[in-house]
């Protein structure tokens, strides 16, 4: 519709905006739970939902575990984990959001109130909290080129290992006794474990950081109660990455060679791993 803007009443403009905003808010009834699909949207174009249930004379308003279960389908950047935690913590504090865990281990963020009069305000807080939290997952806090390099190599190397070892390989998992230390892959052959770490980087700085992380991870694995089961500790070096400068990183590469049980494998010679794990 073409409007005659010259004659447009400004209050009429406001009325149209308000009507449009209000009509955006909708709902779904899910048994005894009301889902309010709010007019708040996230950076990845999802409208935020809050879930409302009346329970023992109070009203619970929650995200239904949708942040923690990634129902908003935000990208997952490992390097952003700590920043996202801080953002969520700040939003929780500002909006006085509590959290609890359900039977499947999913965290629910919520607020409660005792009166219907308070409900819209609580819904407003929880919806704002969800927008802030979901958006914090959406933002690249790290060098995009580095992220791409890391993700591409992780996928290529994982696919390669998957093709070779099928059900015997698991990705991004820790040893049970050091759950904070995750290896890119662990191949299981009978009682033998083969720990595999990928090393890459879009610049020498990132590449050397990855080298240091791999060295530390292998040092810690050496103290594991599963040490006798660890047959080999193997690193796969992305020698096609821009960060790979062997002369510059020679001292750290030498140190890595001391920590692995087999010489590091260059990606261009990746089939060497078949000799190490057969």
């Amino acid at each position: 519709m073409v409007l005659n803007l010259n004659n447009m009443d400004l209050i009429e403009l406001f009325t149209r905006i308000k009507k449009s905003f209000c009509e955006l808010t909708t709902y779904k009834l899910r048994d005894d739970v009301l889902e309010v699909i709010t007019a708040f949207s996230t950076l990845n174009n999802k409208f935020v939902s809050v879930f409302i249930k009346i329970d023992s004379q109070r009203i619970i308003v929650t995200d239904n575990g949708w942040i923690d279960s990634n129902a908003y389908e935000t990208p997952i950047y490992d390097v952003s984990e700590e920043i996202v935690k801080r953002v969520i913590s700040s939003y929780s504090f500002s909006y006085a959001i509590k959290n609890t865990v359900d039977n499947s281990g999913i965290t629910y963020y919520y607020k409660t109130c005792d009166t219907i009069e308070s409900l819209p305000s609580i819904v407003f807080d929880v919806a704002n909290f969800i927008v802030g939290s979901v958006n914090s997952f959406c933002i690249h806090f790290k060098d995009e080129k580095e992220e791409k390099e890391r993700e591409t190599f992780r996928k290529e190397a994982s696919n390669f290992l998957n093709m070779q070892y099928h059900d015997n390989v698991r990705f991004k998992i820790p040893l049970d006794d050091f759950i904070n230390i995750k290896f890119n892959a662990i191949v299981n052959k009978g009682s033998n474990l083969f720990l595999i770490s990928f090393v890459t980087g879009s610049t020498p700085y990132y590449f050397e950081n990855d080298l240091r992380k791999t060295i530390v991870n292998f040092e810690i694995a050496d103290k594991s109660k599963y040490r006798n089961n660890i047959k080999e500790m193997i690193s796969i070096i992305n020698n096609t990455s821009e960060g790979y400068q062997p002369e510059k990183s020679s001292s750290i590469l030498s140190l890595l060679s001391e920590k692995t049980t087999k010489p590091p494998i260059n990606w261009t010679n990746k089939k060497t791993i078949l000799e190490y794990i057969n």
């Binding site: 009509e23 909708t26 935020v48 949708w66 609890t100 039977n103 409660t112």
Partner: protein
């Protein structure tokens, strides 16, 4: 984040062809098994053959153990790494972020399909069946009805024009029954 899929934008005719052209799925049954990296989800997949082009197309199905919501996707690595067409039975509403669409029409609640416009932007839509409450409920509550609807929308069938079906790997896997799993035992102070 309000990005565009450049590969789809640059090969838009190919993208449209992948959706509309006849595609054949060989296996009658698509078996769902617990995902290795997320025990809260079941996953199954099968290959789909484009009748005129030699391109790798995968039909991917995921179902949540928590609330039985499911997603069905088509992926073609020749075109782009992300799924180029998908169906979500539940989950957040999608915003079709386009000023030419009235604001109150920009929210597309689930269940909905997602595809891309010529600019490579993700766009959600509902079919007439999804707009009909009874049909929509049937699709949401029974993954095999949802799969049939997806196959119809994307021109997928078996050689004999039968449709594939989802089956459970183990008898304890509940597929068609949609249970109310809201709050799932969570205790609130």
């Amino acid at each position: 984040m309000k990005g565009y899929n450049k590969e789809i934008r640059d090969h838009y005719d190919f993208f449209l062809d992948l959706i509309s052209e006849k595609k054949i799925v060989k296996s009658k049954q698509i078996i769902l098994e617990i995902k290795n990296n997320n025990r809260n989800w079941y996953f199954g997949s099968t290959e789909v053959n484009h009748i005129k082009k030699e391109v790798p197309i995968s039909l991917l199905i995921e179902q949540s153990k928590r609330d039985n919501k499911y997603g069905i996707k088509l992926r073609c690595s020749t075109l782009t790494c992300e799924p180029f067409f998908r169906f979500d039975s539940d989950g957040p509403a999608h915003r079709n972020d386009d000023p030419s669409i009235p604001l109150d029409k920009q929210s597309i609640t689930t269940p909905h399909f997602n595809h891309f416009n010529a600019q490579g932007k993700s766009i959600a839509y509902k079919t007439s069946q999804l707009l009909n409450e009874n049909d929509s409920d049937a699709i949401v509550n029974d993954i095999n009805i949802g799969l049939s609807h997806f196959c119809f929308e994307t021109n997928i069938s078996m050689y004999n024009n039968d449709l594939p079906e989802v089956v459970e790997r183990s008898p304890e896997l509940p597929i068609p029954v949609c249970i109310s799993a809201f709050f799932n035992g969570a205790k609130f102070e």
